[in-house]
């Protein structure tokens, strides 16, 4: 422990810290621009100069290590003179365009200039003018305002994992920019807006729409991926104008993925449904709530009377809140059926009988960056979990070995220790190999049931290397990604992953696909929760069509694993009730549309993939006649005569759903009562790799215009290995027809030799491919 004194305050600190950190600990603010606690120290802005006893020059607090007995003065005349000198330099070439600058009111330079700037400029020469750069649809630039702090550059190198911005040129003429005519494409790019201490980088979608002081700030929780990023939703006139990160070290730190940050545009989409609608004689009419709800209640009653309760099915997405999902399943079970599911993209439900609890991350998010050995199975990691990918990059930076079993070899912007890039139909076999190699390495006998299935498996070099990696070091984890969870052999993958984790002594986790995947299980919005009436799972409800469907937030044409089957089922139903914030394709197959509130217009709870229960309030008034879904379901329950729907508040619903003492032990559990393992054989059928594109993952982001102008939102192509293209007699770039049974779509074929053979990578959940079948189903491809 060293003791130092800052402005007369003594403080003890371990060696290695800096003056800036020491000062922060005792609440002394030292002005700064380039310093950022999450980035490397650049010490280039020089705003943090302080006086240190016995030092010949003022020293930058951010970079100067503390030494025992050091005496620091941050506000002495000497220090302030140095700081003012720097401020003067920063301002000489900075345009004084604060009145038209979007950073106005939240600008570090503006704030500090009040304290440290002179009242008039001694600089009489011409000011520097810098040409604008086009960084793409998300980040606007005013590079003349740049103060060269290089935070954005360091963010790319150190956090996003990809250096997209640089400081080009030299001296006063140097400019911060991307490579000639390149845009910024990182899925974390929006963070540079927050990092930029001046108005050089601002939000393009938000540009010129409001002044920061006109906005009210409301806390919220991201409704997108399973991380549950904490948000500050900024509101003006009952409209969400902007979303910023709410710092939470345990969850999103101070970052947001671009999806979390910019998806809010979807809240203000033209496609918002604002009044209930009924289809009568093939025509859609806007009606009042009473009419709509009566229609629904009567319809459901009739169908139950005629065909029995099991002829009704409910499909929800796990982007809905715990309260909503709880009431939905309560309604269904009250009607007498367990036909309710929220796992629309899942294909294989064989695990349902043996899964011990709600699948979850298996560990704390914050501990991911401390892992030393990791195996990720079936995940488009950067798309699906941008900030978990960042945590893993940090782990690798600290020496972790990251291993991957996946059909695609996208750049994770970090070093992979080992990878097995195999077609979907070979994934089970690959896991089997790893399990066998681990059993061998740890001299463990596998259970007879497993051994029997794995009898024909031969262990290859990649599997052996992954197994060897997983036995090293101490903190290990095995994760199943979204693609694994959508896999037609999910049960086998999960079973083997569990075996691998157990053999390796690793944490075993499922990366939660959506904001409330965990909450949906716990709320009972699955047909298999123990203690609740069982029913059909999502796939079964599609395969054997029901007479009536209740859709909660679901857009089955995009959300379901097999949209073709889903459409067939919905189109043949007698009644489809779509509760949605949007007028979507339900217009084609539904009978009633009920406008329900997105997360920003209702209170509710999400349970993140690490099991964090996060409740939030609405941030704006519901649009038009939109109502929170929990209220809609409450009324429906009552109208249908189901007991226990007399809730006053959403808190009361939550209380019912979750109890009041937090999650009970064992609720979160990835273990199986026994492995569900059928076969590790590899077929050579041509298989589709149908991932969900980053900006198609939920209803809101599907309608976020700016995100859809990014490169990541490009139209889906059918990519395949050039050997496969050749076998099929197709040219790279040709238009092709992709078929899955009856279903077909016409897309462009592209050669991609990073893909394994025997598979075609063609995104799911996209309007262009919504006519197709299962995400990872068999396909055929021919010239269009």
């Amino acid at each position: 422990m060293l003791e130092i004194e800052i402005d007369g305050n003594k403080i003890q600190m371990t060696a290695g810290g800096t003056i800036m950190e020491a000062a922060a600990q005792i609440g002394i603010y030292i002005p700064h621009f380039c310093y950022h606690k999450k980035l490397s120290i650049a010490a280039n802005c020089r705003m943090c100069l302080v006086q240190v006893e016995k030092a010949a020059k003022p020293l930058p607090a951010c970079a100067t290590p503390i030494t025992d007995g050091m005496k620091v003065f941050t506000k002495s005349d000497y220090a302030v003179k140095a700081q003012k000198g720097v401020m003067e330099f920063l301002l000489i070439n900075h345009p004084l365009d604060c009145p038209i600058c979007d950073q106005g009111g939240e600008c570090s330079l503006q704030d500090l200039a009040v304290g440290y700037g002179g009242s008039s400029s001694r600089y009489q020469e011409a000011k520097r003018v810098v040409k604008e750069k086009d960084l793409g649809p998300l980040v606007a630039t005013d590079m003349t305002r740049c103060i060269h702090c290089t935070r954005c550059v360091r963010f790319g190198q150190e956090i996003a994992g990809i250096m997209e911005m640089g400081q080009v040129g030299r001296g006063e003429h140097s400019e911060i920019m991307p490579f000639i005519s390149k845009t910024i494409d990182s899925e974390l790019s929006g963070n540079i807006i927050d990092l930029c201490p001046v108005g050089a980088l601002t939000s393009k979608p938000f540009r010129y729409t409001a002044r920061s002081w006109e906005l009210s700030r409301r806390k919220s929780v991201s409704p997108h991926d399973g991380l549950g990023s904490n948000l500050i939703v900024q509101v003006k006139d009952s409209r969400v104008m902007r979303v910023l990160p709410l710092e939470n070290e345990a969850v999103n730190e101070c970052w947001l993925s671009d999806k979390d940050r910019f998806a809010y545009e979807g809240l203000n989409s033209e496609q918002r449904l604002s009044r209930p609608m009924l289809k009568q004689d093939g025509k859609w009419l806007e009606v009042d709530w009473q009419t709509a709800l009566e229609y629904v209640a009567n319809g459901l009653k009739q169908i139950r009377e005629q065909h029995g309760a099991d002829s009704i099915g409910a499909l929800a997405t796990s982007h809905q809140t715990v309260e909503e999902l709880y009431l939905l399943q309560k309604l269904m079970r009250g009607l007498g059926t367990g036909n309710v599911d929220s796992r629309l993209a899942q294909a294989d439900f064989r695990l349902d009988a043996s899964l011990q609890g709600a699948p979850w991350l298996g560990m704390a998010v914050a501990d991911i960056s401390k892992l030393q050995r990791v195996l990720v199975i079936g995940s488009t990691l950067r798309n699906d979990h941008p900030l978990l990918a960042h945590r893993l990059r940090q782990a690798v930076k600290h020496g972790a070995q990251l291993n991957l079993v996946n059909p695609v070899d996208d750049d994770l912007l970090t070093k992979l220790a080992n990878k097995a890039i195999v077609a979907p139909q070979a994934m089970v076999n690959t896991l089997a190999q790893i399990a066998l190699a681990l059993a061998e390495a740890t001299q463990t006998e596998l259970p007879a049931a497993i051994k029997a299935v794995l009898a024909d498996v031969t262990v290859g070099a990649a599997a052996r290397a992954i197994a060897a990696s997983l036995t090293g070091a101490e903190r290990r984890a095995v994760f199943l990604g979204n693609l694994a969870q959508h896999h037609p052999q999910y049960a086998d993958l999960h079973s083997l992953a569990e075996v691998i984790a157990r053999l390796a002594g690793a944490n075993f986790g499922c990366l939660g696909e959506s904001a409330n995947s965990v909450g949906a299980y716990i709320a009972g919005a699955v047909p298999s929760k123990s203690g609740l009436k069982a029913g059909m799972n999502a796939a079964a409800m599609m395969a054997t069509p029901r007479k009536a469907y209740l859709l909660l937030g679901a857009e089955p044409e995009l959300d379901c694993n097999d949209p073709a089957a889903a459409m067939h089922a919905l189109q043949s139903a007698d009644m489809v009730v779509a509760m949605s914030a949007y007028k979507h394709s339900a217009l084609e197959y539904a009978d009633v549309l009920l406008p329900i509130a997105p997360f920003s217009e209702t209170s509710g709870t999400f349970i993140s993939t690490e099991g964090r229960v996060q409740s939030f309030n609405g941030t704006v008034k519901p649009l038009g006649e939109t109502r929170p879904a929990w209220k809609v379901l409450r009324v429906l329950g009552t109208m249908l005569g189901v007991k226990g729907f007399d809730y006053d508040t959403s808190e009361a619903v939550r209380q019912d759903a979750l109890g009041s003492n937090g999650l009970a032990a064992g609720v979160l559990n990835n273990s199986l009562s026994g492995p569900v393992l059928q076969s590790a054989a590899i077929t050579d059928t041509l298989t589709r790799v149908g991932e969900v594109p980053m900006y198609q993952a939920d209803a809101i982001v599907r309608r976020a215009a700016s995100l859809h102008s990014t490169r990541a939102a490009a139209l889906p192509n059918a990519s395949m290995h050039s050997a496969l293209l050749a076998r099929l007699g197709l040219a790279d770039g040709a238009m092709v027809t992709v078929r899955q049974g009856e279903a077909r779509a016409v897309v462009r074929a592209l050669a991609d030799d990073h893909l394994p053979d025997h598979c075609v990578r063609l995104a799911a959940a996209h309007p262009l491919t919504a006519t197709l079948g299962a995400m990872l189903g068999e396909v055929s491809v021919e010239r269009a």
Binding site: A42, M47, P58, P60, A82, F89, I92, E125, Q167, R170
Partner: protein
């Protein structure tokens, strides 16, 4: 250009093909390296010898070389590096070029001895971008030394190995600053690093690294061969050895002169043929463009060593003597120097990036007859706000000439402001 030989580095420059290995060896070259290798001289002994010699870094700062070497961690698992700073780009300096051109093996032997002493197996010689021919000469010399077994694995049949490579710069003065130079070798922009940590603990590729100037290394073989005491006695206490002085500007015979430390300036000026004919001596920048200018009267009293020049209010720097006669307008001279620092600022830290441009523009305005009375105070204030507040010494280098010019030649600036034109 005149080249005057001396005892230590330019001892063979009068010989034909002085740069050849054969010439070097015939004149006692590589004997020092052979000696320490065969006698397995301890690192302590060598460092003690270098300390005794009072050799001070020839790159400009004059830091005692023996002391610097003692900072290098002795027992360290992993790589350590040795780096030679041949990025001579300070206006007025041109000695390292001639060392590499005329006696490259003195540098190679000096580096090999240093590598042996410091336990480094890899070294880089960073050569100024604009002297391509010299780079080629160095490449050839390294090949020669490798072929003769003075570089590479198992040098002179011992288990000592040292691999030396030349790295060619491509035009950036700032890479002469040692940490910018390291960044540049790493394949980045040459932007200096904040210190601490110093290169001895975090240098090239983050590993312990010792950096010295070309002339510093080239002095080492003599010190080991002849002994530190003899080197010291060539010069004067605290200022050991001979030194190369690059004399340029208004003299009759500009060039490099190897003379003992402590040689009277007047003698050096004489060697350079004196002030060009028909003119009178006005001012001198004694150690390269960043050292403060001294009026002729003061300069004529100095001897050429660190202490004397420092006492006179300037610095010996790299021994780069720029002579100006009475035709020189100091405003114009300063305008050119300020432009240099403005142009060469790496752009990283605020005071230098913004301040050097400000200085230059104000001086440019004064030189072009648009000066204002308040400009001189402004200049000295801006210079003051740069000096000591930057990441590297370039900020100081930019500030010092301004302050010195205003100190000694303020009247010329005032004249410019008042009359809108020059007084000379």
């Amino acid at each position: 250009m005149v080249i005057k030989g001396g005892e230590v580095i330019f001892n063979t420059v009068h010989l034909p093909e002085s740069w050849k290995l054969s010439t070097y060896v015939a004149n006692g070259g590589y004997a020092a390296l052979r000696k320490i290798l065969s006698e397995k001289t301890s690192a302590e002994t060598i460092i003690a010898e270098v300390k005794k010699s009072a050799l001070r870094g020839r790159g400009g700062a004059g830091f005692p070389t023996g002391l610097k070497w003692s900072f290098m961690p002795r027992h360290f698992d992993g790589d350590k590096y040795l780096v030679c700073n041949s990025d001579e780009g300070e206006p007025g300096t041109f000695k390292d070029r001639d060392i590499m051109q005329l006696n490259p093996h003195a540098l190679i032997e000096g580096m090999a001895i240093a590598a042996y002493t410091l336990g480094t197996r890899r070294g880089y010689n960073y050569i100024h971008g604009e002297i391509w021919e010299t780079y080629e000469r160095m490449e050839a010399a390294v090949e020669e030394a490798k072929a003769a077994g003075f570089l590479g694995d198992n040098i002179c049949g011992t288990d000592f190995s040292f691999h030396l490579f030349n790295h060619h710069g491509y035009g950036a003065y700032i890479c002469g600053e040692e940490t910018a130079l390291l960044e540049s070798i790493e394949g980045k922009k040459g932007q200096p690093r904040f210190k601490p940590p110093f290169p001895a603990s975090f240098g090239l590729y983050g590993k312990p690294t010792t950096i010295n100037n070309t002339e510093t290394f080239a002095s080492i073989p003599y010190i080991i061969r002849e002994g530190g005491q003899k080197f010291l006695e060539l010069g004067k206490p605290n200022n050991g050895g001979t030194k190369l002085f690059s004399v340029s500007g208004h003299v009759n015979r500009p060039g490099n002169f190897e003379v003992p430390m402590g040689t009277p300036f007047a003698e050096l000026l004489e060697m350079a043929g004196g002030i060009r004919d028909g003119h009178t001596f006005k001012a001198c920048i004694p150690g390269g463009s960043s050292t403060p200018v001294l009026p002729a009267e003061i300069m004529m009293q100095c001897t050429m060593d660190y202490d004397s020049i420092a006492k006179a209010g300037s610095a010996l720097g790299a021994g780069s003597v720029i002579i100006m006669d009475e035709t020189v307008c100091m405003v114009k001279a300063l305008e050119r120097l300020s432009y240099f620092y403005f142009e060469e600022s790496c752009g990283q830290c605020t005071p230098c990036r913004e301040g050097t441009g400000w200085l230059y523009r104000v001086i440019h305005r004064i030189e072009h007859g648009q000066g204002r009375p308040e400009d001189l105070d402004l200049l000295s204030d801006v210079a003051h706000n740069i000096g000591g507040r930057t990441i590297c010494g370039l900020g100081d280098a930019a500030a010092m000439p301004v302050q010195a010019m205003l100190k000694h030649y303020r009247h010329e600036f005032e004249h410019h402001i008042e009359h809108g034109k020059c007084m000379v």
